[in-house]
Subunit: 252 residues, 2 copies
DNA sequence: GGCGACTGTTGACTTGAGTCAAAGGAGCAA
DNA sequence: TTGCTCCTTTGACTCAAGTCAACAGTCGCC
């Protein structure tokens, strides 16, 4: 189905950073990504690390469960989902990743990837070879600390997903999902009240622990209430304040 | 069942490691905890780090949401739960921690703790001051790597909880919970088919995204089926294989 | 050693989300 | 453009889990 661990650059997939404008120090995402909080003057220490990039076409996987873990990936452009599959055939989307976010931490523990990472649109990632990353982090405290912060943030994010899955009703989940996505787009400098969903209703449902019909009904209801406007994947948030109230509607 | 932490209780709460047999190199939990995978001959490097211990009485908190993050904690004896609370008053138990497991990673990102950690029985933890931990990890690659492995394992654990919350029915969740606990006790060298639950039905329910009545009914049903024997908090697993089947009963 | 407050069990009823089904719409490929 | 596939919406029905309530058991504390 997918390439068997390509250590050798395969046609059109790997780009050397050298010929391009190159790495972190000039990247517009640097504040959101690995370099966050590291003084710009010191970023050249990272530039050697992220010399490689890779393109992933819509529908293709960046890595699969069981693949040898060799690197973390920073999303440069595009949109990903990560998916866990259990031995008895269940699956669950564990997250969606937008530019500036990192993929692959779940692989450190076992040296094998623990999720599938799938591009939901044509995407590009920076490759951060993990051994090198650890080596540089040993000599360069700000990178070490930032790496820990990013992993910790992922743990907090998952706590919040657990709270959502464990305590919220269907419409509350959908409202929380829309607000979260909106917030992340705002953070990236995109419009936060009008965007194209990159995923299907079924994928939203999988992430939120709901069936696709339930997601669809929630969208329809919010639209009736004038809170959002939804035409297929095109979403406009009309009343963010009301959407916030919908998240905490469980009492009152 | 377990040693009653001997020695001198200094001011009741903090114990200096010096006077005790001391830290990681002689700890019976070392393979399960931070020192895992680090050669015993090098463990003295850790012993300086974990010089302090702390006792926490049943019902007391080790730390609360919002507390300044200064250290990670390794459970030495006892049992903890961690709990997240949202601004609108929901709460959710995000995990239970047994000896050898670490608490506090969620605090690295913001330098404030993101959950409450509450002892479910009288417990003792080793204090790992975080700044020192990072400093030592910079000079000592095996520790650095182990630290990353442990954080990564926590991320994987949470993925699996998301799968449980997102895809499993009530009885499947309860069966999965019992098997998970059993496995962790086995790993610690305790009986894996007979143990005392340290948490209430309500706490199990909070962790599993269920109401306490639903948890209780699942226990009763498993008992009727002869799969477990449950008398209040005393649990005996009679048929582990059947319990495994109950986890994946969703099809067939 | 007994009282009171948690904790757990069980039953009856309600309800929110899942299931099944049908049909319309969007997007891609030839 | 046509046709095909996949995605989305909506309706009718079902059922798993939540809610409410009563009561029993247990534990810890005075």
């Amino acid at each position: 189905m997918e390439k068997k661990l390509a250590s050798t650059p395969i046609s059109g997939k790997l780009l050397s950073g050298g010929s391009l404008a190159a790495a972190c120090s000039t990247c517009s995402l640097r504040e959101l990504c690995v370099p966050g909080g590291i003084p710009v003057s010191e970023l050249e220490k990272l530039d050697a690390l992220v010399a490689m990039r890779r393109r992933v076409k819509r529908g293709d996987t960046l890595f699969n469960v069981g693949d040898e873990f060799r690197a973390l990936y920073a999303v440069r452009s595009g949109f990903f989902k990560t998916r866990i599959t259990s031995s008895d055939g269940r699956d669950q989307i564990t997250g969606f990743q937008v530019p500036g976010e990192l993929l692959g931490f779940e692989g450190v523990a076992t040296e094998q990837h623990g999720v599938d990472a799938i591009a939901l649109e044509d995407s590009e990632v920076c490759i951060l070879p993990y051994g090198e990353l650890e080596r540089i982090a040993r000599d360069f405290q700000p990178l070490q600390h930032q790496l820990h912060r990013v992993m910790s943030r992922e743990i907090m994010r998952e706590h919040n997903v657990m709270l959502l899955l464990g305590t919220m009703k269907a419409e509350e989940r959908v409202a929380a999902f829309l607000l979260n996505l909106s917030e992340r787009y705002r953070h990236l400098g995109y419009s936060s009240n009008e965007f194209i969903l990159r995923m299907t209703r079924q994928e939203i449902g999988s992430y939120l622990g709901l069936k696709l019909e339930t997601v669809s009904r929630a969208f329809s209801k919010f639209q009736e209430q004038g809170v959002i406007e939804a035409q297929g994947k095109k979403i406009r948030l009309l009343d963010i304040e009301q959407l916030r109230k919908l998240v905490s509607s469980h009492k009152g």
